[in-house]
Structure formats: structure tokens, C-alpha cells
């Protein structure tokens, strides 16, 4: 066999007690487009970080064209010829297209820029990608995501990249832009660089890649030719695990309608959503990251605009701002705990009472209010006045959830409520969710998530969102992990 462009052998990495990678093998031939697939948390992003020099693996080795490859910084990896295109693009918005492409490797003599050489190199790289007509002097920040992606790929090319890694490149692209990107990637691979393509969308993998590798629980569990492997087989490799979680669940009784969404569309996402949520039920919004689940929740809560469609919350029609929504008894738990869900520097009691605070309150009142919730949800903190930032992820999340419970929200919108949460806290969060829909005057929960076994365990009904379009909600019993994954990735289509 010829020397592989990139070879990874036994790459392993631990973070504290959790093993993110348990020895991954991967080989990439020159000019090959190789797909890397796996569920959230399977270890894809850790593997990419090791490859890009952002982290150093604990064990295993990597080789680039037969030579040892041990990058200790992202810059070193780039110099060696591994170009990463992340989901969040890394362009300097104020610099021009040409300056971005050559940032850090500007041709110059004695510190004076050679603008002509700069333009020539940038133009050549863009031409190879079929975008030779981009204006080189325009600031990069003014272009669409699709064009910025091309500029980033050109940056990789201008440094002579040998391996191009694309991390979920189409998650924020329109269909036509995605097709154009595929053409670019195919054209590029035909010229020599190898492409490692990370995607959730199995239809894309089918269309683009020649071979694939499936990651699961930090291991490469399968590899093969795309042409001879049916999508269903790939899904089986991605899912195949024993489920040991416990999902507390009492008898529930669906009541009056609390939320009605008809043909709703946001500015970009969601594109089309229709859903009804009743008192006393937990409804799941399944979908991959970037599918539009978060945006749907935010539109309902009034954080994102509603461009089209109807929205009726607790009998009151029309969109409203978050302040009104909270008064109507709606609460939102953000997926971004650190930036949005909590005020990290403030205390547990302050966070807990933030959305339902009387104008004037006496000394110790906040603590008095917070204590029972801290006990009920077993939030582990030294005292209610402790800053939230010192708590573990699970306890932070419970504090955020306690705020919604104290607010006595009827309609509780939860976005990835168990992300980055330890197993014990997870169960406590499930219990809290169960209590919301079974209390004397039950509330309703709309829960977005991409971890399907969890959705199956705690939801009464589940609807799947894919590329901004929400499918019909069906009873949880009618779904399986595999069928959810198929619907979310479009493998069955």
C-alpha cells in the first residue's frame, strides 16, 4: 500500500475522569475525501483538536506523508499542511480578502509588504476554488458565510495544505451553497490534497465521500467504502450501544393547549414549524446542532423574530418580547449556560430569583426563597450566596432550572438541558422535568435535544427538525433511536 497522506494510530485522550478518545485509528490516502461520522459526544471534535494542534493526545501517534506529526499549536499544524475549517469561521472581518488569505505569511521585504505578490497568490488560490472573481480588496466581513468559507479554504491552499479538514461545513449553508461547496471540495481533492469531511448528514456523506469512518464512544467502530455501505448500516454503527440510563417518569395526563405554533418561520431558521403542546406533557424537539431547534425555542420566547406564521401562547396570539412571555408564564433554559443561561459571577440565590424578584425585599429574603429549591434539586453549593461560577456544570444547570421552577413557569422551554452534565445531576434534572408536568396544576415542557435515547426516555411526544423544517410530532413509543437519527440526518430520504 502507498504511504497514507495522514495516519492516526491509537490516538487517545482523557479529560479528568472521562475518556474522550480511547485509541482511534484512521488513514487517509492522498487525494481522498474521507467522511468522519458519529453522534454528538462520540469524540469527533476531540479528534479534530488533536489533529489541529489545539490539544496534545495522551497516547498514540500521527504521521503526515510518512513523517511523524506532533503539532503543539494550531499554527504548527497549519505550517505542516493541515488546514482546519471550523464551524465558527476564523476570518478577521476588517481585513481584506487578500490580507486574510495571507495573514501571517505575507510576502514582504524588510517588513514592507509586496502587495502585488500578495494579490497574485490570493488570486491563484481563489481561482483554484473557482472563485477567481472575488474582489480582493473588499473587507472579508461583508461576505456571506458561504463565501467566507471559500476564503478560509483559500487560506489553507495559499499555505500549501495537504490535508483539509471541514467540520460540519454545511450546517449553516443554504442547499445551493452547499452544492457549490461540494463541487469545490471535489475539484480540490482531484488536485492532490486529502479532505477529511465531518458531517452529521449521511446524504452528504453519500454524495461526497469515497470512504468513511464511524466514531462511537471515543473509538473508531467501523470504516469502509461509502458506495457499498447502506446508510442504515452506518446509522447502526453510530447508535449501537447499551442504554443504561434511567428515566424517572410518572403517569401523565395531557390537558388544555398551552402552545400552538402554525407554519412558523424565523429570519433564517426555523423555516417551517407546526406544533401543539398541552399541559401535562413533555414534547421533544429532536434534531442535530444547527437544525433550527434552538431558534424555534427562541422565537417562541421572543428572543428571535417571527417572520411568518402564527404563534398562540396560553390563549394569547402573536409574538411577544421575553418580558411579556415571562409574565405569561413562559420560561426558557438556554443551551448556552455560560453566556446566556446564568449570570456566572452572581450568587446562586441571585440567579435563582432573577426573573421573579419583588421591587423591594428585606435582608435575607432571597436566601429564604432559594433554600428550598437548593434542597429540592440537590444543588451542591457551600451556601446560597456562593457565586455560580464555582459550581460544577451539573449544579449550574440545576440552578438555572430552579429559576424556571421558582418563576412558576407554565410553559417551560428547555434547550439541551443535560449538555455537559454529570450522570447524577442528569437524573435529578429528569425528575424535576417530570414534576413540572405532574404537579397539581401541571405545566408543559418543550425540550430540544440531540441525544436521542434521552428524548425517548423522558418525552411523551417527539417531533424531528431537519434543516429548519419540523416534522410531525408522534408519540415517543413510535420512535426508535435509529428512526430518529434517520429522520434527523435524512438518511431514509
Amino acid at each position: 500500500m502507498t504511504v497514507p497522506r495522514l495516519a492516526m494510530r491509537g490516538v487517545a485522550k482523557r479529560f479528568g475522569a472521562t475518556a474522550a478518545l480511547r485509541g482511534v485509528d484512521l488513514a487517509l490516502a492522498p487525494g481522498e475525501i474521507h467522511a468522519l461520522v458519529g453522534e454528538n459526544g462520540a469524540g469527533k471534535s476531540t479528534l479534530m483538536k488533536a489533529l489541529s494542534g489545539a490539544i496534545r493526545p495522551d497516547a498514540g501517534e500521527m504521521e503526515l506523508d510518512g513523517k511523524p506529526f506532533r503539532p503543539s499549536t494550531p499554527h504548527e499544524a497549519r505550517q505542516a499542511g493541515v488546514a482546519m475549517i471550523y464551524q465558527e469561521l476564523t476570518l478577521a472581518p476588517h481585513l481584506s480578502v487578500a490580507e486574510n488569505i495571507l495573514l501571517g505569511t505575507e510576502p514582504s521585504r524588510g517588513g514592507i509588504l509586496n502587495r502585488r505578490a500578495m494579490r497574485r497568490t490570493a488570486r491563484a488560490a481563489l481561482t483554484r476554488l473557482g472563485h477567481g472573481d472575488l474582489p480582493l480588496d473588499a473587507p472579508a466581513g461583508q461576505f456571506t458565510v458561504a463565501v467566507r468559507q471559500i476564503i478560509e479554504i483559500a487560506r489553507g491552499l495559499a499555505r500549501g495544505c495537504r490535508v483539509l479538514v471541514l467540520d460540519e461545513p454545511t450546517s449553516s449553508l443554504a442547499r445551493a451553497d452547499a452544492e457549490r461547496l461540494f463541487d469545490v471540495v471535489r475539484g480540490l481533492a482531484a488536485e492532490g490534497p486529502s479532505v477529511l469531511y465531518i458531517s452529521h448528514f449521511l446524504d452528504e456523506v453519500q454524495a461526497l465521500a469515497r470512504r468513511f469512518t464511524v466514531l462511537r464512544d471515543g473509538r473508531a467502530v467501523g470504516t469502509g467504502d461509502v458506495a457499498t455501505t447502506p446508510p442504515a448500516a452506518m446509522v447502526r454503527m453510530m447508535v449501537g450501544r447499551d442504554l443504561a440510563e434511567q428515566f424517572p417518569r410518572s403517569a401523565r395526563q395531557a390537558g388544555e393547549v398551552l402552545l400552538e405554533i402554525r407554519n412558523l418561520a424565523g429570519r433564517r431558521l426555523p423555516r417551517e414549524a407546526t406544533l401543539t403542546v398541552r399541559r401535562g406533557e413533555v414534547v421533544g424537539l429532536a434534531g442535530l446542532v444547527g437544525s433550527g431547534r434552538t431558534e424555534l425555542l427562541r422565537s417562541v420566547f421572543g428572543l428571535d423574530p417571527v417572520v411568518r406564521g402564527d404563534l398562540v401562547v396560553a390563549g394569547r396570539p402573536g409574538p411577544a418580547r421575553p418580558v411579556r412571555r415571562i409574565r405569561q408564564g413562559v420560561g426558557l433554559l438556554s443551551e448556552d449556560r455560560k453566556a446566556e443561561g446564568l449570570a456566572l459571577n452572581l450568587s446562586v440565590e441571585t440567579n435563582l430569583t432573577l426573573s421573579r424578584l419583588p421591587a423591594v425585599f428585606g435582608v435575607g429574603r432571597m436566601e429564604e426563597v432559594a433554600r428550598p429549591w437548593i434542597r429540592d434539586l440537590s444543588i451542591r453549593c457551600q451556601h446560597p450566596g456562593q457565586a455560580v461560577t464555582h459550581l460544577s456544570g451539573g449544579n449550574q444547570q440545576k440552578a438555572a432550572l430552579a429559576r424556571l421552577l421558582y418563576q412558576e413557569a407554565d410553559l417551560v422551554l428547555l434547550d439541551e438541558p443535560t449538555r455537559g452534565v454529570d450522570v447524577g445531576s442528569k437524573v435529578q434534572i429528569y425528575e424535576a422535568i417530570d414534576r413540572i408536568v405532574t404537579r397539581p396544576r401541571p405545566g408543559a415542557v418543550l425540550l430540544a435535544g440531540s441525544y436521542f435515547p434521552e428524548l425517548l426516555g423522558i418525552c411523551d411526544r417527539i417531533a424531528v427538525m431537519r434543516r429548519g423544517v419540523l416534522g410531525p410530532a408522534r408519540p415517543a413509543a413510535e420512535w426508535t433511536t435509529a428512526s430518529l437519527l434517520e429522520a434527523a440526518t435524512g438518511a431514509a430520504a
Partner: protein, 397 residues
């Protein structure tokens, strides 16, 4: 020519002019408007050549500080300590002269003290990873204290000041508008018009932005442009030297050199990259820490030079001078199009910003406005200018 063609031509003309004058166009128009307004309000005293000289002289210090601050703000930083640095440099210069140093050595020591302050700021910001606002807030106090201690809380008055006396003094003898200056201004204006015309013709001819040299009447456009630029610089140099004291030329030379550095060197582009997206710059192998240290050092050295000019004007080293001057300097940069979020700003804009601030101050003095009115109006203009700039940004995006 059809109507549509004409419209298209006009559109490209406007675009070409905008591209030529760049970010400084807005502030420049603002300056002209403010200046014209005061000429209209007090024609007899304000609309004189002598007054233009006063404005230029009085703005030199803030403008020099603003040149350094421009780099800091482009790199998404801030330096609150430069008012104190100016005072320290002022005291150091006076102290050195009193101790018997030559004017040249005293100047070097003054600028050097500013450079040292900036270097320490930069090293602390990079080394301790404390935000620039806090580091320079602290060093603002520290440096002010050092200046006071060095001067024993008194003004330092050297006997011999040599040429430092005339560095920023009103031009003696030759009237501000002698015949020579008139001719030079004429030459400059003509060459400037020629330059703009050449540039616009080039931009109109060029269909895509490739590197085919454009020719006008058989001569490469680049050569015409070079000749015109040389003529402008030469005429400007002669006129400036005959009209303004050395402090003003120093400011202009510093501004031109810094603008060229920002535009045409790796370092210049890296300063923009750090301010625009530090993570990206780091990923692409830009030595972010080194760029920051350089930027703060340069800003400190500029403040040091401004301190020497301050000494030249007051003829004593006063440790309490230039209180809150950093705020004027920051305002000048921001009026000139700098963004405190980084990635944006231009030296030309900042210098014009300093001119605008001085013009308003001098103009209101001419109108016999009390000082408190001047403060209110200046404050309003700072907020208004930045709000206008944001509005323009929003429309673009």
C-alpha cells in the same frame, strides 16, 4: 451617452472618490464644515491665516498623542496613561536641561521616558493578561506619581532651553501668508486635483482589479501619480516650514510615516488583524504579544514627544500638566473613525479628529463662549460624531 450610462458613470465616480479618500473622508468633511461654520460666525477674527496657524499649533500635542493611540485602538486596546506620560516626559525634559544636558539629549530622554512607560504597559498587558483598561488605569496613577516625585511636587524651571524654546512657538517674523506660501498652496491644490483626477480615471478604466498597469496618454499611471505626490509633498514641506513651527512638521512627518507603516508593512497589517480577531491572528501565526508590546511602546513614545512639546510651550516642567489629556486623545481617534472594538481607525482620521476638537475650542473662544459651554458642546460633538459613524456602518451592513 444614454441616461443610464451617465448614472452608472456617476455611481462609479462616487465609488472611486470614496475608495480614494477612504475612512478619513467623513472626518475631513466634518472638519471643513466646522471650520467654515466658525469662519461664518466670527469672520473678522476666525477667518484669518494667523488663526489657522494657531489651530495647527494647538492641536499638535493632541494629534501626536492620537497617532500613537490610533495604533492602540486599532489593536482593540486602550491607553489611559498617556496624559500622565506627557507630564512625566515634560518633567524629565526640564530636569535634564537643568542638570546641564543639551536640548537634543533632553528631548531624547523625554521621548525615552514615554517609550519606557509604554513598554511597561505593553509587557504588563501581555505578561499578566490583565485588560489594557485596568493596566493603564493603574499606570496612569503610577506615572503621575513618579512625575510628581521627580519634580518634588514643584515645577522644574531650567535656565537654558536652547532651541526647545521655539519648537512650538508661534512663527516669528515671516507672516503666515507670504507670497511663497501662497504659490506653494496653489501648487499643492493643482497637484491634488490632478492626483484625484488620475486616480479616478484609473479606477474608471480598470474593469477588474488585476495587476495590469493602467496607462494614461501612453504614460504609466503609477508614474504620473508618483510625480504628483512628490510635487504635493515638496510644496507642502516648503509651505509648512515657512508657516508652522517645527512641532507641527514633526507631527505631520510622524503621521505620514505611521500611516505608511500601517498600510504597507506586515506589522501594520498584523496590528489590524489583532484588533479585528485576535484568535484568528494567533491561529495564523501572528506574534500577538509582540505586536501589542510594540503598539503600546509606540504610543508611549508618542506621548513622550507630546510631553516635550508641552515643555516647549510652558518652558517649565510641570508634573500636574496634561490632566485628563488622554480623554481628548481618545476622543480625537474615535471622531476620526477609530472603533474601540478594534480593527478600525486611521492615522489621517485621528489627526483630523484632533484638528476638529481644537477648532471647536478655539472657535468658541473667539465667540467669547464661557468655558463650561465649550465643555458641553465638545462632549455633544464626540457623542454625535460616533453615533453618526455607527449609523453609517449599519447602513453598509
Amino acid at each position: 451617452m444614454k441616461r443610464g450610462d451617465l448614472l452608472e458613470w456617476l455611481r462609479r465616480l462616487a465609488q472611486a472618490m470614496g475608495a480614494r479618500c477612504g475612512k478619513a473622508l467623513g472626518p475631513a468633511l466634518g472638519f471643513l464644515a466646522v471650520y467654515a461654520l466658525f469662519c461664518f460666525l466670527s469672520p473678522r477674527t476666525f477667518m484669518t491665516a494667523g488663526n489657522l496657524e494657531t489651530v495647527a499649533r494647538q492641536s499638535a500635542m493632541v494629534a501626536i498623542g492620537a497617532v500613537g493611540m490610533t495604533l492602540v485602538i486599532i489593536s482593540a486596546g486602550i491607553d489611559l496613561s498617556i496624559g500622565s506620560t506627557m507630564a512625566l516626559s515634560c518633567v524629565v525634559t526640564a530636569y535634564a536641561l537643568r542638570a546641564g544636558a543639551s536640548p537634543a539629549l533632553a528631548t531624547a530622554l523625554g521621548v525615552g521616558s514615554g517609550l519606557a512607560c509604554g513598554l511597561i504597559n505593553g509587557l504588563l498587558i501581555v505578561g499578566l493578561r490583565v485588560v489594557p483598561f485596568i493596566v493603564t488605569l493603574g499606570s496612569m496613577l503610577v506615572v503621575r506619581g513618579v512625575a510628581n516625585g521627580l519634580a518634588s511636587e514643584q515645577t522644574v524651571a531650567p535656565d537654558r532651553r536652547g532651541w526647545l524654546d521655539v519648537l512650538i512657538a508661534p512663527a516669528a517674523g515671516a507672516g503666515p501668508l507670504d507670497a511663497m506660501v501662497g504659490v506653494m498652496v496653489g501648487v499643492m491644490a493643482a497637484a491634488l486635483v490632478g492626483l484625484l483626477a488620475t486616480d479616478i480615471m484609473v479606477r474608471l478604466q480598470r474593469t477588474d482589479d488585476d495587476d495590469v498597469p493602467v496607462r494614461l496618454a501612453g504614460v504609466p499611471a503609477a508614474r504620473i501619480r508618483g510625480g504628483l505626490v512628490a510635487a504635493i509633498l515638496l510644496a507642502a514641506a516648503v509651505a509648512t516650514v515657512r508657516t508652522f513651527p517645527p512641532g507641527v512638521w514633526l507631527m505631520l512627518v510622524l503621521a505620514l510615516a505611521t500611516a505608511a507603516m500601517l498600510r504597507n508593512t506586515r506589522l501594520g497589517r498584523h496590528i489590524f488583524a489583532v484588533g479585528s480577531s485576535e484568535a484568528t491572528a494567533r491561529l495564523c501565526g501572528v506574534a500577538v504579544g509582540r505586536v501589542k508590546v510594540l503598539v503600546y511602546s509606540f504610543c508611549g513614545a508618542c506621548a513622550g514627544l507630546a510631553g516635550v512639546l508641552l515643555f516647549s510651550r510652558m518652558r517649565v516642567g510641570d508634573p500636574t500638566t496634561a490632566q485628563a489629556r488622554e480623554l481628548d486623545v481618545i476622543a480625537a481617534v474615535v471622531i476620526g473613525g477609530g472603533s474601540l472594538a478594534g480593527g478600525e481607525g486611521s492615522v489621517a482620521g485621528s489627526v483630523i479628529g484632533a484638528l476638529i476638537l481644537t477648532t471647536i475650542d478655539v472657535g468658541l473662544q473667539h465667540l467669547d463662549m464661557p468655558k463650561w459651554w465649550r465643555m458641553i458642546i465638545t462632549g455633544g460633538i464626540i457623542i454625535g460624531a460616533v453615533a453618526l459613524d455607527r449609523l453609517r456602518h449599519r447602513r453598509e451592513s
